[in-house]
């Protein structure tokens, strides 16, 4: 079954990767952090979608994510409410299904942090995903395959 994933992940040096993966093929945008290069992952948040009628390449996926922005941003806001108090740092990601996904598609939000400080802020991070969804997708317009 086809799968597309939108991901955003941050490093402790402040670097942030934003990208779309379509069945193993990835496009991504990387913003360097302000601090000295340090590759340790601080957190990640994904939107993972499975279904038969999903787009087949990254640009189509980006458009598809824009078309379904309302469902998706509601999903991230729902995640944000669940994580108002943050989460415990762990290696196991937390996953929540988006209940009103488009027909034939299963959507879930997934987030993880093994570090205490970012784990406590995960609700705020999920809210930012909702508030900046179109901006983050815009970063991927004509983004290159890494």
């Amino acid at each position: 079954m086809p799968r597309i994933t939108f991901f955003r992940q941050a490093r402790v040096d402040g670097g942030i990767r934003t990208g779309i993966n379509v069945d193993g093929d990835t496009v991504e945008h990387f913003e360097s952090g302000p601090d000295e290069l340090d590759p340790v992952l601080a957190w990640f948040v994904d939107l993972r979608c499975d279904g038969d009628d999903l787009p087949l390449n990254a640009e189509e996926a980006r458009q598809w994510f824009l078309e379904h922005r309302t469902i998706i941003t509601d999903g991230f806001l729902g995640l944000s409410k669940k994580l108002t108090l943050g989460m415990d740092p762990d290696i196991q990601p937390v996953q929540w299904e988006i209940s009103d996904s488009p027909s034939g598609v299963r959507m879930k939000t997934v987030c993880c942090s093994a570090r205490t400080a970012p784990a406590r802020k995960m609700g705020m991070i999920a809210q930012e995903m909702a508030e900046h969804w179109e901006e983050y997708l815009g970063q991927l317009y004509a983004a290159e395959v890494p």
């Binding site: 990208g19 340090d38 590759p39 992952l41 290696i91 093994a114």
Partner: protein, 132 residues
């Protein structure tokens, strides 16, 4: 797959979570499923050669070694078992940086960070003293 590599600390925590500290009466299929579950949860299957070797080195019996190998088969060693001169030089540079805490740096941590930087990968680690 996301551009993340697992550090040994994460693999060990996950291994213990799945099979306990001394996984007895477990099958190779069990170990394979544990590895797949971590890959699936994180959408990443990447490890580096030093991590692979450090994990294998933790096995305390032949049976446990077989399980560890089955677990690790679910991951890809993305440096192709090739550690370059520049990786060793960068690892040494990191090892020479004495933190304010004075805590010793670990060879594998320095090497993992050096290789991850070269390959433009982020490192998922539980180690709070990972060399910065």
């Amino acid at each position: 797959m996301r551009k993340t590599v697992f550090d040994t600390s994460v693999l060990i925590r996950h291994w213990i979570h799945c099979g306990g500290r001394s996984p007895k009466n477990k099958t190779l299929a069990d170990a394979e499923s544990w590895g797949r579950s971590l890959v699936e949860a994180h959408d990443s299957n990447a490890v580096l050669t030093p991590v692979y070797i450090e994990f294998v080195a933790g096995a305390r019996s032949t049976a446990e070694l077989r399980l560890a190998e089955a677990y690790l088969e679910q991951f890809e060693i993305i440096d192709n078992r090739s550690i370059l001169k520049q990786d060793w030089e960068e690892a040494e540079r990191l090892a020479r940086r004495v933190p304010r805490s004075g805590k010793p740096r670990q060879l594998v941590d320095c090497l993992v960070r050096a290789i991850a930087n070269r390959l433009n990968r982020d490192v998922f680690t539980l180690d709070q003293t990972f060399p910065a």
